[in-house]
Symmetry: C2
Subunit: 232 residues, 2 copies
C-alpha cells in the first residue's frame, strides 16, 4: 500500500485569534481538510508534523486527534499515529441506519416543541436556501441546508441528542462530498415538506415525513456509492 505522508501544500495555519480553544480549532481545521478531500484516505497524520505546520505545540494536536477518532475521521494506531480512514459502503449503510433513528427523533421532538413556539428560524433557513438557489449560489444552498438541519436539532431541545448528532453530521457531510451535488430544487421541496410537518405540531406526522425522506435519500445515495466505495 502506498503510504502517503501528510500533504505538503495548503496547510497554512489560518488559526485565527478567536476565543475558541486551540484544540477545537485544530480539530475543525483537520476535519474540514478531510471532508473536502484535501487529506485523502490513508494519509498518515503525524502529530509533530501537524504541530509544526499549524504553528502550535504537540499538546493541542494530541487533544484534537482523539476527537477526530471518536468522530470516525481518523484511526489511531498506537505508536504509529493517526491515519485518515477510508469510508466504506458498510459505514455508509451504518450511518443511514443511525440517521433513520436519530433524525426521525429530532423531527418528532421538534414538532412537539413547535406546538409551543412556531419555528420561525426554520422558515428563515428555508427562505435563505430558496434565495441562494435562485441566485445559483451552490455554496449558499449547502450552508442553508446545514442550517436547516441545525435548527431542527436546536428546536428538538435535547442537548444530548445534539451532542450525539454532531459527529454524525460531519460524516454525512463527508459522504455527500463524494456524491454529485444534488438538485437544489428537489432539496428545497423536501425541506419545505418537512418544515410544514414540524410546524403542524404533529410529532407522528413529522417523524413519518422525516423517515420517508431519509429512506428515499438512502436508496438513491447508496446506489451511487456502491460504484464509488469499497465494500468494507
Amino acid at each position: 500500500m502506498d503510504k502517503k505522508s501528510v500533504a505538503a501544500p495548503d496547510f497554512a495555519a489560518p488559526l485565527g485569534t478567536t476565543n475558541r480553544s486551540l484544540p477545537e480549532q485544530i480539530c475543525d481545521h483537520i476535519r474540514e481538510l478531510i471532508i473536502d478531500g484535501t487529506l485523502e484516505a490513508g494519509t498518515w497524520l503525524r502529530e509533530r508534523d501537524l504541530a509544526q505546520r499549524l504553528n502550535v505545540s504537540r499538546i493541542p494536536v494530541r487533544e484534537a486527534l482523539p476527537v477526530l477518532e471518536a468522530e470516525g475521521f481518523v484511526r489511531m494506531v498506537p505508536r504509529r499515529g493517526a491515519m485518515v480512514t477510508t469510508l466504506t459502503l458498510r459505514e455508509a449503510e451504518n450511518l443511514y441506519d443511525i440517521r433513520e433513528s436519530l433524525e426521525v427523533l429530532a423531527a418528532r421532538l421538534a414538532a412537539r416543541q413547535a406546538r409551543h413556539s412556531p419555528p420561525v428560524a426554520l422558515l428563515e433557513c428555508l427562505e435563505r436556501g430558496r434565495a441562494a438557489a435562485e441566485a445559483g449560489d451552490r455554496h449558499g444552498v449547502e450552508a442553508a441546508n446545514a442550517a436547516f438541519h441545525g435548527e431542527i436539532l436546536k428546536l428538538s431541545d435535547n442537548p444530548l441528542l445534539q451532542s450525539i448528532m454532531k459527529p454524525i453530521k460531519g460524516r454525512v457531510r463527508w459522504l455527500f462530498h463524494l456524491l454529485p451535488s444534488r438538485d437544489p430544487h428537489s432539496q428545497l421541496l423536501k425541506h419545505q415538506e418537512l418544515c410544514d410537518a414540524i410546524a403542524s405540531g404533529n410529532p407522528d406526522l413529522a417523524a413519518a415525513v422525516a423517515y420517508a425522506q431519509i429512506v428515499r435519500t438512502r436508496e438513491s445515495s447508496l446506489a451511487v456509492l456502491r460504484t464509488l466505495l469499497p465494500e468494507s
Copy 2:
C-alpha cells in the same frame, strides 16, 4: 453555592500496568468514581490535583477530561477546570428519548443479524444472569445485564452505533445507581422476552418489544426520579 474541592479519600491510584492507554484508564477510573457517587455533583476536578493523586502527569489527565465531558459526566469551564455535573430530570428524559430510538434500532438490527447466526452469546448472558439471581448475587446480576445489552449491540453489527451507545450506557448506569435496585426476577423476564424476539429473526417484533420495555421502564423510573432530581 458550596464549592467542594476534590474529595480527599479513596483516590489511591490503582492504574494497573495493563496495555490500555493511560488516558483511557484515567477516564474509566474517574467515570466509575462519578457513577458510584464517590465524586458528588458540583465537585471541582483540578487536573494537577488529579494527576498527583493518580501518580501521572497532567497530559493524560487533560486527555481524559474532555472525554468525560463528551459523555456528559463533567462540564469543563475554561481556565477553571472540570466540574462534576448534576443529573437533572430534564437530562433523564432526554436520555430516555435517545434510548427509545437507539436501543430499538439495536434490537432491530440484532434481529436481522440473528437470522444468519443464532444469538448464542445472548442466551449465555441470560443464563448467567439467572444463575446470579438465584445465588442472590446482585453484583453478578448487574454484570450479566450489562453484558446482555452489550451483546445485543455487538450483534447489531454497526460499529457506529456501538460507539454512539458507549456514552449513553455510562449515563444509564449513572441514572440507575440513583434508583433503588430493581427486582432481578422481572428484569430477567424482560430480557428473556427481548431475547426471544431477537432470536425469532423478526426485526419489527424485536423493535416493538424493545420499545415497549423502554417506555415501561421510562415511566416507572421517571416517577421515582421526579422525587430525587432537580427539574433542570
